[in-house]
């Protein structure tokens, strides 16, 4: 039941906002292809990724942001785990179209393989880590800017349905490191996820993969 409740909690507002979507935007297409492709190629070659994250959610109904911290793991091509350690322990694991969640209310699993909006919502970060520029271009109008070593990747959803949920996603980085991801919603809410202690090139053993990409998070990071 909780599993279903969770699905409904996520999908019902999507349905709600679909009726109030705004006008279609044009593809700005202002990226620097060479640099962007090189960057994404770099991500694609990074292998497994481990990073510490600090997330701040600025909601229009709250006076102060909701702060969470934890560890993020990515194993190519399609595994992503986010283990939150503060303020409470929770985990979300995305794997082959299925999302598993565990928080203080329990564990639930749901299948997003048939819902493109939900895939986009939960999978943006994974697509970037994977360096899947083709899929990014299918889903978003892309703007890419770089100066010195710093770069900014702006994504604006192409589909009206997705655009009614996400206004814009911005990735910021330095060199081949991803520093932050900001997601803006049409109602002004935004979420900033900052990354630190980024380590790349992991190739975990199957036993470690099972531990990391489990909603029972590892006590120690492999």
């Amino acid at each position: 039941m909780r599993r279903a409740r969770s699905v409904l909690a996520i999908l019902l507002p999507i349905v709600w906002v679909l009726s109030g979507g705004d006008s279609l935007a044009s593809d700005t297409g202002g990226s620097a292809p060479t640099e962007l492709e090189a960057l994404m190629q770099g991500f694609a070659e990074s292998g497994g990724v481990r990073a510490r994250f600090q997330e701040s959610r600025y909601l229009s109904i709250l006076t102060d942001p909701i702060e969470t911290t934890g560890m993020l793991y990515f194993a190519p091509p399609d595994r992503l785990a986010r283990h939150t350690t503060s303020p409470g322990r929770s985990s979300i694991v995305i794997e082959a179209g299925r999302v598993s969640l565990r928080d203080e209310t329990g564990q639930r699993v749901f299948d997003f393989s048939t819902n493109e909006i939900a895939q986009a919502l939960v999978g943006n970060l994974m697509v970037v880590f994977r360096g899947d520029l083709k899929l990014l271009r299918e889903r978003y109008s892309i703007s890419f800017d770089s100066a010195a070593e710093r770069w900014t990747l702006d994504l604006e959803p192409r589909a009206r349905a997705l655009r009614s949920v996400i206004e814009r996603v911005q990735f910021v980085g330095k060199g081949r490191d991803l520093a932050a991801m900001e997601t803006r919603e049409p109602n002004g809410d935004r979420t900033i996820m900052k990354f630190s202690e980024i380590e790349i090139g992991f190739s975990w053993e199957p036993r470690d993969l099972d531990r990391i990409f489990s909603v029972d998070p590892p006590d120690t990071t492999p």
């Binding site: 039941m1 279903a4 409740r5 996520i10 999908l11 909701i66």
Partner: protein
């Protein structure tokens, strides 16, 4: 009129009547037309017998990671099948949109079932503080990104409570976003509704075939690891019908072969068999034409049993043809008819009267059968007397078999006459068997035992039902009211009472319309209770600000309370939405409205009745109990009809013979054979049911015919061999036609076969003894 003309007229009439019957052939298999008026409770049960739950199938797919995708694809494929009314395989976007559109703007109406007390409690400062903290906590969850979209309009989480309530309606079914899953998460589940009755095999068999082939295709694509399991009345029904058809085909083949062999042996001709069959066939054709001349369709059971009962009439041409064969050479058929006419008339009269007694039953099914057979028997007699002789030739020498049989019986009767004690002992043995066995008879009044379902299919169905915690389609509560709103008010009360029964452990769960729709009165009381809080907006604002929320963040909620965007939810609002089926349980019946609540895991029917005792126009219905009671009534009525039939037959025999001893002897064959048959069943522990009791009427009909021919034969010195050999051929024919049904795996067919086979053999065994005693008594 010459024989050729008679033959043509007979064939033409039979063809005409047959064509008329075929052109008007319309029969029903609905149990409704077979159950007597049983008061309001029974009528309600009848109206709801074809319930949506009975028309539902549950499909389970297990065996691998690809089950969910296969279930979704299978659901999509089934959706286009003409026999499929609806398919549900998960919370698709249509369902989610339907829930949102129906409920979000009406969330202020659907807060509490006890608004006067619970809403003020919900808005107590301490309760609001907890809600604010809970909302903030949920906003911090990893999957709460979009909760913030609804929170400004719904700080109390009212809409989520409605969604939870809908989900809690079946806690065993969860949705993985793609497809329904069983509680264990190991099986993907698809639910579908049928357009036709699950017992309509003609429509169900193609659907089941399509389901199997589509699954095979999807399983092949998925690597062949998936396992399909299905629950549905239609599956068991189609399999049972196949089994019955298979049994019937096999048994028909056996019986036709043996009867052909018998006629070849006795008459050296299959033409005699064709002529003999003409008699019951004519009776059946005319009875069917009469039955179909009315406006109502004929029930399939009436046709089936009517045909069996008219089968008694096959005795008439057999007697005629065998007597004719054993007549002096050159005897014309109509001379033979004249010799045995009185016996034939008496046989047909007693049988017809017995069937008329059946038509006097209180039960519509028995009435229809009795009328059907009572029409057919006189027609069969008329064909025997007037038409069959036209198909026969003047007698020639009897066949060796006929001579041997006649001679053998003459010897047997001579032997028995010298040892009358054996004849008396035969009667005594039958009487003892009856006296010992009949009191031990075990009655089976559960109609479901008449059809044997495939145990493997039933076990599979139970496994699937267990995975989805399915409701019992035969147990429900019905509330009746003059209009839809009154029915919903009553349903609010029914739900409250049954919820207490769940808490008390008398009930495992229920499927109630209350999950989706409350009465408008209750909805308005919810809004009034919200509005009655004078400082509602300020209170929420103040307390939520203390919890870290912006002041004025919940103006959307304030506006919804002050002026809800939509009126309270009504049944009509569900039309055309993905939740349209939710209101199937609200139905109009003869100007009144009934609302049905389905139950699961009733531990005590009495406790449920007790829980509902304070509610007017509310009934707990257990269809199994009702139908069991109806069948018990059928059986009792049948026994009464049998007794009445026996009395009528005996009175007619007495009037005919004007001799008590002759009447008793003529009746003894039938009476003792019937009693001894049930005596044997009682001793051997074979349970009897309404089908075997109807079959006993067949035994009585044939047994009386044997008795009449035996007693009449005893009165004519040269008819001993002809009479008893006719009875033997008649008996063997009946045993091979009806008795072979005892080989069937289907309990209903087996009951017919066992009863008729055993009874007719008893009647045959008693006939020589009756002959000896009739002759000794000097019956004239």
């Amino acid at each position: 009129m010459n024989d050729l003309r008679v033959r043509w007229i007979t064939v033409a009439l039979l063809a005409g009547v047959g064509l008329y019957g075929v052109s008007r052939l319309e029969f029903t298999n609905s149990i409704k037309s077979f159950i007597p008026a049983a008061g309001e409770l029974g009528d309600l049960s009848l109206e709801l017998v074809d319930s949506p739950l009975a028309r539902r199938m549950a499909i389970s797919i297990g065996g691998g990671e690809k089950r969910s995708g296969a279930a979704t694809a299978l659901a999509e494929s089934l959706r286009s099948h003409p026999e499929v009314a609806w398919v549900e395989s998960g919370f698709d976007e249509d369902a989610l949109r339907g829930i949102y559109e129906l409920y979000f703007d009406r969330r202020v109406y659907l807060i509490s079932e006890k608004p006067a007390t619970e809403i003020p409690a919900l808005l107590e400062p301490a309760a609001l503080e907890r809600r604010a903290a809970d909302l903030r906590r949920r906003l911090a969850q990893p999957d709460a990104m979009l909760l913030s979209r609804t929170a400004p309009d719904d700080p109390l989480g009212l809409f989520q409570n409605i969604v939870d309530r809908i989900r809690d309606a079946n806690p065993a079914l969860s949705s993985g976003g793609g497809s329904f899953e069983s509680a264990s998460g190991e099986h993907a589940i698809v639910l579908l509704g049928l357009r036709s009755s699950p017992f309509d095999s003609e429509r169900q068999a193609p659907l089941l075939g399509y389901l199997d082939s589509e699954f095979a295709r999807l399983n092949a694509e998925a690597g062949g690891q998936l396992v399909l399991e299905v629950s549905g009345i239609n599956r068991v029904s189609v399999a049972s019908e196949r089994s019955i058809r298979g049994d019937t085909n096999f048994i028909s083949m056996v019986s036709v072969s043996v009867v052909c062999a018998l006629f070849l042996l006795v008459f050296h001709s299959l033409r005699h068999l064709a002529i003999a069959i003409l008699t019951p066939l004519s009776g059946f054709a005319v009875a069917m034409a009469v039955a179909l001349s009315g406006e109502d369709p004929v029930h399939g059971i009436t046709l089936g049993f009517g045909f069996v009962l008219i089968g008694v009439a096959i005795d008439y041409p057999i007697h005629l043809m065998n007597h004719h064969a054993l007549s002096p050479p050159g005897t014309r058929p109509r001379e033979t008819v004249a010799q045995i006419r009185s016996s034939l008339l008496l046989s047909a009269l007693t049988t017809t009267l017995a069937f008329i007694a059946l038509s006097l039953s209180d039960f519509p099914g028995l009435q229809a059968m009795g009328t059907f057979a009572a029409v057919g028997i006189p027609v069969a007699l008329a064909i025997t007397l007037f038409s069959i002789p036209a198909f026969m030739s003047p007698s020639a020498a009897p066949t060796p078999a006929q001579r041997a049989l006649a001679g053998g019986f003459a010897w047997l009767v001579g032997w028995l006459s010298a040892r009358e004690g054996i004849a008396v002992a035969l009667f005594a043995a039958c009487a003892v068997i009856a006296a010992v066995g009949v009191p031990q008879i075990r009655w089976e009044d559960d109609p479901s035992t008449l059809i044997a379902g495939d145990p493997a299919l039933i076990a599979e169905s139970e496994r699937v039902r267990g995975r989805i915690a399915d409701f019992d389609s035969g147990r429900f509560v019905v509330g009746l009211a003059p209009n839809a709103e009154a029915a919903l008010v009553l349903n609010d009360q029914i739900h409250e009472q049954l919820t207490q029964a769940v808490v008390a452990g008398d009930l495992e769960g229920m499927s109630s319309l209350h999950t989706f729709l409350w009465s408008q009165a209750l909805q308005r009381r919810n809004l009034e209770a919200l509005r009655s809080v004078p400082d509602l907006v300020d209170r929420i604002d103040r307390i939520y600000v203390q919890g870290g929320f912006q002041s004025g963040a919940f103006q959307g909620f304030s506006a919804a309370v002050a002026d809800p965007p939509l009126a309270p939810l009504r049944a009509e609002d569900f039309a055309g939405t993905a939740l349209e089926r939710a209101i199937d349980s609200l139905v109009e019946l003869d100007g009144r409205w009934a609302v049905v609540t389905y139950l699961r895991g009733v531990t005590s029917s009495d406790a449920i009745r007790q829980a509902l005792s304070g509610l007017e126009d509310t009934r707990y219905i257990d269809q199994k109990e009702i139908v069991g009671g109806v069948y018990q009534g059928y059986r009792r009525s049948m026994v009464r009809v049998l007794a009445l039939g026996c009395v009528i037959v005996f009175v007619v025999l007495q009037l005919r013979y004007r001799n008590l001893r002759a009447a008793l002897l003529a009746f003894a064959t039938a009476g003792l054979a019937a009693l001894a048959t049930y005596g044997v069943f009682g001793i051997l522990g074979v349970s009897v049911n309404v089908v075997s009791t109807i079959s006993l009427l067949l035994v009585l009909g044939m047994g009386v015919d044997y008795g009449i021919f035996t007693v009449d034969g005893a009165r004519v010195s040269d008819r001993l061999g002809a009479t008893l050999s006719s009875i033997l051929v008649s008996c063997l024919t009946s045993v091979f036609v009806f008795g072979t049904l005892a080989l069937s795996e289907q309990p209903a067919l087996r009951a017919i076969g066992l009863t008729t086979g055993t009874g007719i053999l008893f009647a045959l065994a008693l006939s020589p003894a009756v002959f000896v005693m009739a002759r000794r008594s000097g019956v004239r």
